[in-house]
Subunit: 217 residues, 2 copies
Protein backbone atom coordinates (compact mmCIF):
# COMPACT_ATOMS: atom_id res chain seq x y z
CA UNK A 1 0.00 0.00 0.00
CA UNK A 2 1.43 3.39 -0.90
CA UNK A 3 1.42 6.09 1.77
CA UNK A 4 -1.35 8.67 1.59
CA UNK A 5 -0.69 12.29 0.71
CA UNK A 6 -2.16 14.72 3.19
CA UNK A 7 -3.24 17.67 1.06
CA UNK A 8 -3.66 21.31 1.93
CA UNK A 9 -7.37 20.90 2.75
CA UNK A 10 -6.69 18.05 5.17
CA UNK A 11 -3.91 19.97 6.88
CA UNK A 12 -6.15 23.01 7.26
CA UNK A 13 -8.77 20.71 8.79
CA UNK A 14 -6.17 19.33 11.20
CA UNK A 15 -5.24 22.86 12.28
CA UNK A 16 -8.96 23.54 12.86
CA UNK A 17 -9.25 20.35 14.87
CA UNK A 18 -6.35 21.43 17.10
CA UNK A 19 -7.88 24.89 17.50
CA UNK A 20 -11.36 23.64 18.41
CA UNK A 21 -10.29 20.80 20.70
CA UNK A 22 -11.29 21.76 24.23
CA UNK A 23 -11.26 20.24 27.69
CA UNK A 24 -15.01 19.83 28.07
CA UNK A 25 -16.82 19.86 31.42
CA UNK A 26 -20.39 20.59 30.26
CA UNK A 27 -22.04 17.63 28.61
CA UNK A 28 -25.44 16.71 27.28
CA UNK A 29 -26.70 13.43 28.67
CA UNK A 30 -27.50 12.08 25.18
CA UNK A 31 -26.02 8.58 24.93
CA UNK A 32 -23.02 7.87 22.72
CA UNK A 33 -23.09 4.85 20.41
CA UNK A 34 -20.72 2.25 21.92
CA UNK A 35 -19.56 1.37 18.39
CA UNK A 36 -18.32 4.93 17.94
CA UNK A 37 -16.37 4.78 21.21
CA UNK A 38 -14.92 1.41 20.22
CA UNK A 39 -13.79 2.82 16.88
CA UNK A 40 -12.17 5.86 18.53
CA UNK A 41 -10.39 3.65 21.04
CA UNK A 42 -9.11 1.37 18.30
CA UNK A 43 -7.81 4.37 16.37
CA UNK A 44 -6.08 5.70 19.48
CA UNK A 45 -4.23 2.42 19.89
CA UNK A 46 -2.21 3.32 16.82
CA UNK A 47 -0.40 5.73 19.14
CA UNK A 48 3.36 5.47 19.55
CA UNK A 49 4.60 3.68 22.66
CA UNK A 50 8.08 3.11 24.02
CA UNK A 51 9.42 -0.18 22.65
CA UNK A 52 5.96 -0.70 21.13
CA UNK A 53 4.89 -1.65 24.67
CA UNK A 54 1.26 -0.51 24.30
CA UNK A 55 0.79 -0.22 28.08
CA UNK A 56 -2.63 1.52 28.01
CA UNK A 57 -5.43 -0.10 30.01
CA UNK A 58 -8.88 1.51 29.97
CA UNK A 59 -11.45 0.75 32.64
CA UNK A 60 -15.08 1.92 32.41
CA UNK A 61 -16.37 2.41 35.98
CA UNK A 62 -19.86 1.19 36.83
CA UNK A 63 -22.49 3.45 38.40
CA UNK A 64 -21.44 2.86 42.01
CA UNK A 65 -17.78 3.37 41.17
CA UNK A 66 -18.61 6.61 39.38
CA UNK A 67 -20.28 7.93 42.52
CA UNK A 68 -17.26 7.02 44.64
CA UNK A 69 -14.94 8.75 42.18
CA UNK A 70 -17.14 11.82 42.04
CA UNK A 71 -17.08 11.99 45.84
CA UNK A 72 -13.31 11.78 45.77
CA UNK A 73 -13.23 14.64 43.26
CA UNK A 74 -15.42 16.76 45.55
CA UNK A 75 -13.09 16.17 48.48
CA UNK A 76 -9.90 16.83 46.49
CA UNK A 77 -11.43 19.94 44.95
CA UNK A 78 -12.37 21.32 48.39
CA UNK A 79 -8.80 20.73 49.56
CA UNK A 80 -7.44 22.46 46.46
CA UNK A 81 -9.73 25.44 47.07
CA UNK A 82 -8.19 25.86 50.52
CA UNK A 83 -4.84 26.67 48.87
CA UNK A 84 -6.22 29.92 47.42
CA UNK A 85 -7.23 33.13 49.19
CA UNK A 86 -9.51 36.11 48.66
CA UNK A 87 -10.66 36.87 45.14
CA UNK A 88 -8.64 33.99 43.72
CA UNK A 89 -10.44 31.55 46.03
CA UNK A 90 -13.81 32.97 44.98
CA UNK A 91 -12.86 32.57 41.36
CA UNK A 92 -11.66 29.00 41.93
CA UNK A 93 -14.91 28.11 43.67
CA UNK A 94 -16.87 29.41 40.68
CA UNK A 95 -15.08 27.20 38.15
CA UNK A 96 -16.59 24.03 36.78
CA UNK A 97 -13.62 21.70 36.69
CA UNK A 98 -15.19 18.34 35.84
CA UNK A 99 -17.94 16.69 33.86
CA UNK A 100 -18.41 13.79 36.27
CA UNK A 101 -22.03 14.79 36.89
CA UNK A 102 -23.36 14.20 33.41
CA UNK A 103 -20.90 12.74 30.94
CA UNK A 104 -22.39 9.48 29.70
CA UNK A 105 -19.06 7.78 29.00
CA UNK A 106 -16.21 7.71 31.51
CA UNK A 107 -12.89 5.93 31.62
CA UNK A 108 -10.10 5.56 34.10
CA UNK A 109 -6.95 5.18 32.03
CA UNK A 110 -4.03 3.28 33.52
CA UNK A 111 -0.48 2.42 32.55
CA UNK A 112 0.43 -1.21 33.09
CA UNK A 113 3.93 -0.72 34.46
CA UNK A 114 4.42 -4.48 34.73
CA UNK A 115 3.89 -5.15 31.04
CA UNK A 116 6.61 -7.23 29.46
CA UNK A 117 5.68 -6.23 25.91
CA UNK A 118 8.63 -4.40 24.35
CA UNK A 119 11.02 -6.14 26.77
CA UNK A 120 12.04 -2.87 28.38
CA UNK A 121 13.38 -1.37 25.16
CA UNK A 122 13.84 2.39 25.36
CA UNK A 123 12.94 2.80 29.01
CA UNK A 124 16.05 1.93 30.97
CA UNK A 125 17.20 5.52 31.48
CA UNK A 126 13.73 7.12 31.17
CA UNK A 127 11.20 4.67 32.64
CA UNK A 128 8.59 7.43 32.71
CA UNK A 129 8.25 7.01 28.94
CA UNK A 130 5.93 4.08 29.66
CA UNK A 131 3.46 6.45 31.33
CA UNK A 132 4.04 8.99 28.55
CA UNK A 133 2.98 6.39 25.99
CA UNK A 134 -0.45 6.31 27.60
CA UNK A 135 -0.67 10.10 27.49
CA UNK A 136 0.02 10.04 23.75
CA UNK A 137 -2.71 7.48 23.27
CA UNK A 138 -5.18 9.63 25.22
CA UNK A 139 -4.24 12.60 23.03
CA UNK A 140 -5.05 10.63 19.88
CA UNK A 141 -8.36 9.46 21.35
CA UNK A 142 -9.15 13.07 22.24
CA UNK A 143 -8.51 14.35 18.73
CA UNK A 144 -10.44 11.53 17.05
CA UNK A 145 -13.33 12.11 19.46
CA UNK A 146 -13.41 15.83 18.74
CA UNK A 147 -13.41 15.13 15.00
CA UNK A 148 -16.52 13.01 15.64
CA UNK A 149 -18.15 15.92 17.48
CA UNK A 150 -17.56 14.47 20.95
CA UNK A 151 -16.12 16.35 23.88
CA UNK A 152 -13.46 14.96 26.20
CA UNK A 153 -12.57 16.28 29.64
CA UNK A 154 -9.48 15.17 31.58
CA UNK A 155 -10.11 15.20 35.33
CA UNK A 156 -6.95 15.31 37.47
CA UNK A 157 -8.41 16.60 40.74
CA UNK A 158 -8.66 13.11 42.18
CA UNK A 159 -6.50 10.95 44.39
CA UNK A 160 -5.02 8.27 42.11
CA UNK A 161 -4.66 5.79 44.99
CA UNK A 162 -8.34 6.15 45.85
CA UNK A 163 -9.45 5.74 42.24
CA UNK A 164 -7.26 2.65 41.83
CA UNK A 165 -8.73 1.17 45.01
CA UNK A 166 -12.32 1.96 43.97
CA UNK A 167 -11.70 0.17 40.68
CA UNK A 168 -9.82 -2.72 42.28
CA UNK A 169 -6.73 -2.27 40.15
CA UNK A 170 -3.32 -3.75 41.03
CA UNK A 171 -0.44 -1.67 42.38
CA UNK A 172 1.35 -2.08 39.08
CA UNK A 173 -1.37 -0.11 37.30
CA UNK A 174 -0.63 3.63 37.50
CA UNK A 175 -3.58 5.96 36.97
CA UNK A 176 -2.73 8.37 34.17
CA UNK A 177 -6.07 10.09 33.58
CA UNK A 178 -9.78 10.04 34.29
CA UNK A 179 -11.73 10.93 31.17
CA UNK A 180 -15.28 12.22 30.76
CA UNK A 181 -16.64 11.77 27.24
CA UNK A 182 -19.91 12.86 25.66
CA UNK A 183 -21.68 15.33 23.42
CA UNK A 184 -20.71 18.84 24.51
CA UNK A 185 -23.32 21.42 25.49
CA UNK A 186 -21.40 24.15 23.74
CA UNK A 187 -18.32 24.58 21.57
CA UNK A 188 -15.59 27.15 21.95
CA UNK A 189 -12.38 28.30 20.35
CA UNK A 190 -10.93 29.47 23.67
CA UNK A 191 -10.34 27.49 26.89
CA UNK A 192 -12.89 27.80 29.69
CA UNK A 193 -10.11 28.86 32.10
CA UNK A 194 -9.40 31.84 29.83
CA UNK A 195 -13.07 32.77 29.51
CA UNK A 196 -13.42 32.58 33.29
CA UNK A 197 -10.41 34.84 33.84
CA UNK A 198 -8.27 32.24 35.63
CA UNK A 199 -5.42 32.60 33.11
CA UNK A 200 -4.71 35.07 30.34
CA UNK A 201 -5.38 34.07 26.74
CA UNK A 202 -2.70 32.66 24.52
CA UNK A 203 -2.06 35.88 22.69
CA UNK A 204 -0.86 35.75 19.09
CA UNK A 205 -1.54 32.21 17.97
CA UNK A 206 -0.27 30.51 14.85
CA UNK A 207 3.10 31.47 13.50
CA UNK A 208 4.13 33.18 16.71
CA UNK A 209 6.76 30.73 17.96
CA UNK A 210 10.42 31.24 17.37
CA UNK A 211 12.50 28.38 16.06
CA UNK A 212 16.03 27.46 15.11
CA UNK A 213 17.67 29.18 17.99
CA UNK A 214 18.25 28.19 21.56
CA UNK A 215 15.81 30.56 23.16
CA UNK A 216 12.87 29.30 25.09
CA UNK A 217 9.58 30.10 23.46
Amino acid sequence: MSPPVFDRAFRAGLADLFAWRRDVRRFRTTPVDPALIADLRAQSELAPSVGDSRPWRWIAPDAAQRIAIRNNFAQCNAEALADYEGERAKLYASLKLDGLDRSPVQFAVFCDRATTRGQGLGRKTMPQTLDYSVVGQIMMFWLAARAAGLGVGWVSIIDPDVVSAVLGQPQTFALIAYLCVGWPEEEHLDPELVRAGWVEGRGPALGASGVGDRNRT
Copy 2:
Protein backbone atom coordinates in the same frame (compact mmCIF):
# COMPACT_ATOMS: atom_id res chain seq x y z
CA MET B 1 -16.97 32.03 14.50
CA SER B 2 -19.02 28.88 14.20
CA PRO B 3 -17.32 25.57 14.91
CA PRO B 4 -16.17 23.57 11.90
CA VAL B 5 -17.78 20.30 10.94
CA PHE B 6 -15.31 17.50 10.44
CA ASP B 7 -16.77 15.45 7.61
CA ARG B 8 -16.35 11.82 6.72
CA ALA B 9 -13.46 12.51 4.34
CA PHE B 10 -11.53 14.43 7.00
CA ARG B 11 -12.08 11.75 9.59
CA ALA B 12 -10.90 9.07 7.18
CA GLY B 13 -7.80 11.20 6.57
CA LEU B 14 -7.23 11.46 10.33
CA ALA B 15 -7.44 7.67 10.65
CA ASP B 16 -4.88 7.40 7.84
CA LEU B 17 -2.65 9.91 9.60
CA PHE B 18 -2.76 7.85 12.79
CA ALA B 19 -2.04 4.67 10.85
CA TRP B 20 0.93 6.10 8.92
CA ARG B 21 2.51 7.99 11.81
CA ARG B 22 5.76 6.24 12.66
CA ASP B 23 8.70 6.70 15.01
CA VAL B 24 11.27 7.52 12.35
CA ARG B 25 14.99 6.81 12.72
CA ARG B 26 16.10 6.96 9.08
CA PHE B 27 16.20 10.47 7.71
CA ARG B 28 17.31 12.19 4.55
CA THR B 29 19.64 15.10 5.22
CA THR B 30 17.55 17.46 3.06
CA PRO B 31 16.97 20.64 5.08
CA VAL B 32 13.56 21.52 6.44
CA ASP B 33 12.21 25.04 5.98
CA PRO B 34 12.37 26.73 9.39
CA ALA B 35 9.02 28.40 8.64
CA LEU B 36 7.40 24.98 8.39
CA ILE B 37 8.85 23.93 11.75
CA ALA B 38 7.68 27.19 13.30
CA ASP B 39 4.17 26.63 11.99
CA LEU B 40 4.06 23.05 13.33
CA ARG B 41 5.32 24.19 16.71
CA ALA B 42 2.72 26.94 16.87
CA GLN B 43 -0.02 24.45 16.01
CA SER B 44 1.22 22.06 18.71
CA GLU B 45 0.92 24.81 21.30
CA LEU B 46 -2.84 24.52 20.99
CA ALA B 47 -2.44 21.31 23.01
CA PRO B 48 -4.31 20.90 26.29
CA SER B 49 -2.32 21.57 29.45
CA VAL B 50 -3.22 21.21 33.10
CA GLY B 51 -4.63 24.53 34.34
CA ASP B 52 -3.70 25.95 30.92
CA SER B 53 -0.12 26.00 32.27
CA ARG B 54 1.57 25.54 28.87
CA PRO B 55 4.80 24.27 30.47
CA TRP B 56 6.53 23.14 27.24
CA ARG B 57 10.00 24.51 26.55
CA TRP B 58 11.78 23.49 23.35
CA ILE B 59 15.54 23.83 22.99
CA ALA B 60 17.34 23.30 19.67
CA PRO B 61 20.88 22.02 20.44
CA ASP B 62 23.80 23.43 18.49
CA ALA B 63 26.27 21.22 16.61
CA ALA B 64 28.59 20.62 19.58
CA GLN B 65 25.67 19.85 21.87
CA ARG B 66 24.28 17.39 19.32
CA ILE B 67 27.58 15.51 19.34
CA ALA B 68 27.59 15.35 23.14
CA ILE B 69 24.01 14.05 23.16
CA ARG B 70 24.77 11.49 20.47
CA ASN B 71 27.72 10.26 22.54
CA ASN B 72 25.44 9.95 25.54
CA PHE B 73 22.99 7.93 23.46
CA ALA B 74 25.81 5.59 22.36
CA GLN B 75 26.82 5.00 25.97
CA CYS B 76 23.25 4.47 27.24
CA ASN B 77 22.51 2.17 24.31
CA ALA B 78 25.58 0.04 25.04
CA GLU B 79 24.47 -0.24 28.67
CA ALA B 80 20.97 -1.23 27.58
CA LEU B 81 22.39 -3.88 25.26
CA ALA B 82 24.15 -5.47 28.24
CA ASP B 83 20.72 -6.25 29.75
CA TYR B 84 19.94 -8.74 26.98
CA GLU B 85 21.48 -12.12 26.23
CA GLY B 86 21.98 -14.50 23.32
CA GLU B 87 19.78 -14.05 20.27
CA ARG B 88 17.86 -11.22 21.92
CA ALA B 89 21.12 -9.30 22.43
CA LYS B 90 22.09 -9.86 18.80
CA LEU B 91 18.70 -8.59 17.69
CA TYR B 92 18.95 -5.54 19.97
CA ALA B 93 22.40 -4.72 18.58
CA SER B 94 21.00 -4.83 15.04
CA LEU B 95 18.24 -2.29 15.71
CA LYS B 96 18.52 1.33 14.66
CA LEU B 97 17.00 3.14 17.62
CA ASP B 98 17.75 6.79 16.85
CA GLY B 99 18.04 9.30 14.05
CA LEU B 100 20.67 11.42 15.80
CA ASP B 101 23.15 10.83 13.00
CA ARG B 102 21.29 12.55 10.21
CA SER B 103 18.07 14.27 11.24
CA PRO B 104 18.45 17.92 10.28
CA VAL B 105 16.17 19.27 13.02
CA GLN B 106 16.47 18.23 16.65
CA PHE B 107 14.84 19.42 19.84
CA ALA B 108 15.19 18.65 23.51
CA VAL B 109 11.74 19.17 24.97
CA PHE B 110 11.46 20.14 28.62
CA CYS B 111 8.71 20.70 31.15
CA ASP B 112 9.11 23.87 33.19
CA ARG B 113 8.06 22.51 36.56
CA ALA B 114 8.51 25.93 38.15
CA THR B 115 6.00 27.67 35.92
CA THR B 116 3.43 29.71 37.80
CA ARG B 117 1.04 29.88 34.84
CA GLY B 118 -2.21 28.16 35.82
CA GLN B 119 -1.49 28.79 39.51
CA GLY B 120 -1.28 25.10 40.28
CA LEU B 121 -4.84 24.39 39.18
CA GLY B 122 -5.48 20.68 38.59
CA ARG B 123 -2.13 19.40 39.75
CA LYS B 124 -2.28 19.24 43.52
CA THR B 125 -3.07 15.51 43.70
CA MET B 126 -1.50 14.58 40.33
CA PRO B 127 1.52 16.87 39.82
CA GLN B 128 2.73 14.60 37.03
CA THR B 129 0.00 16.11 34.82
CA LEU B 130 2.37 19.02 34.20
CA ASP B 131 4.82 16.66 32.49
CA TYR B 132 1.92 14.93 30.72
CA SER B 133 0.88 18.27 29.22
CA VAL B 134 4.20 18.40 27.40
CA VAL B 135 3.71 14.86 26.11
CA GLY B 136 0.34 15.86 24.65
CA GLN B 137 1.96 18.83 22.93
CA ILE B 138 4.66 16.60 21.45
CA MET B 139 1.94 14.26 20.16
CA MET B 140 0.21 17.12 18.36
CA PHE B 141 3.51 18.30 16.86
CA TRP B 142 4.18 14.73 15.71
CA LEU B 143 0.81 14.42 13.96
CA ALA B 144 1.03 17.84 12.30
CA ALA B 145 4.58 17.02 11.17
CA ARG B 146 3.52 13.70 9.65
CA ALA B 147 0.66 15.43 7.83
CA ALA B 148 3.31 17.70 6.30
CA GLY B 149 5.31 14.64 5.22
CA LEU B 150 7.93 14.97 7.95
CA GLY B 151 9.12 12.16 10.17
CA VAL B 152 9.58 12.46 13.93
CA GLY B 153 11.58 10.09 16.13
CA TRP B 154 11.46 10.17 19.94
CA VAL B 155 14.79 9.18 21.47
CA SER B 156 14.58 8.03 25.09
CA ILE B 157 17.86 6.10 25.36
CA ILE B 158 19.65 9.04 26.91
CA ASP B 159 20.42 10.17 30.43
CA PRO B 160 18.14 13.13 31.10
CA ASP B 161 20.56 14.62 33.64
CA VAL B 162 23.38 14.56 31.10
CA VAL B 163 21.22 16.12 28.38
CA SER B 164 20.05 18.85 30.75
CA ALA B 165 23.65 19.58 31.74
CA VAL B 166 24.85 19.63 28.11
CA LEU B 167 22.14 22.16 27.31
CA GLY B 168 22.70 24.19 30.48
CA GLN B 169 19.12 23.93 31.64
CA PRO B 170 17.99 24.59 35.23
CA GLN B 171 17.06 21.82 37.66
CA THR B 172 13.43 22.88 37.41
CA PHE B 173 13.36 21.88 33.74
CA ALA B 174 12.55 18.19 33.39
CA LEU B 175 13.54 16.55 30.10
CA ILE B 176 10.47 14.92 28.58
CA ALA B 177 11.74 13.94 25.14
CA TYR B 178 14.50 14.32 22.61
CA LEU B 179 13.07 14.63 19.12
CA CYS B 180 14.66 14.02 15.73
CA VAL B 181 12.76 15.63 12.86
CA GLY B 182 13.30 15.51 9.12
CA TRP B 183 12.22 14.05 5.80
CA PRO B 184 12.01 10.28 6.18
CA GLU B 185 13.98 7.93 3.93
CA GLU B 186 11.05 5.55 3.73
CA GLU B 187 7.43 5.32 4.87
CA HIS B 188 5.75 2.37 6.53
CA LEU B 189 2.41 1.27 7.87
CA ASP B 190 4.01 -0.99 10.49
CA PRO B 191 6.48 -0.08 13.25
CA GLU B 192 10.17 -0.78 12.67
CA LEU B 193 10.27 -2.88 15.88
CA VAL B 194 7.62 -5.16 14.38
CA ARG B 195 9.43 -5.43 11.03
CA ALA B 196 12.66 -6.26 12.86
CA GLY B 197 10.97 -8.98 14.91
CA TRP B 198 11.47 -7.32 18.31
CA VAL B 199 7.75 -7.38 19.09
CA GLU B 200 4.78 -9.06 17.46
CA GLY B 201 2.48 -7.02 15.27
CA ARG B 202 -0.67 -5.44 16.56
CA GLY B 203 -2.97 -8.08 15.17
CA PRO B 204 -6.48 -7.08 14.18
CA ALA B 205 -6.43 -3.31 14.04
CA LEU B 206 -9.41 -0.98 13.85
CA GLY B 207 -12.61 -2.03 15.52
CA ALA B 208 -10.92 -4.71 17.58
CA SER B 209 -11.15 -3.13 21.02
CA GLY B 210 -13.87 -3.93 23.45
CA VAL B 211 -15.71 -1.13 25.14
CA GLY B 212 -18.41 -0.45 27.66
CA ASP B 213 -17.41 -3.17 30.02
CA ARG B 214 -14.84 -3.34 32.74
CA ASN B 215 -12.46 -5.70 31.03
CA ARG B 216 -9.01 -4.60 30.13
CA THR B 217 -8.41 -4.49 26.43
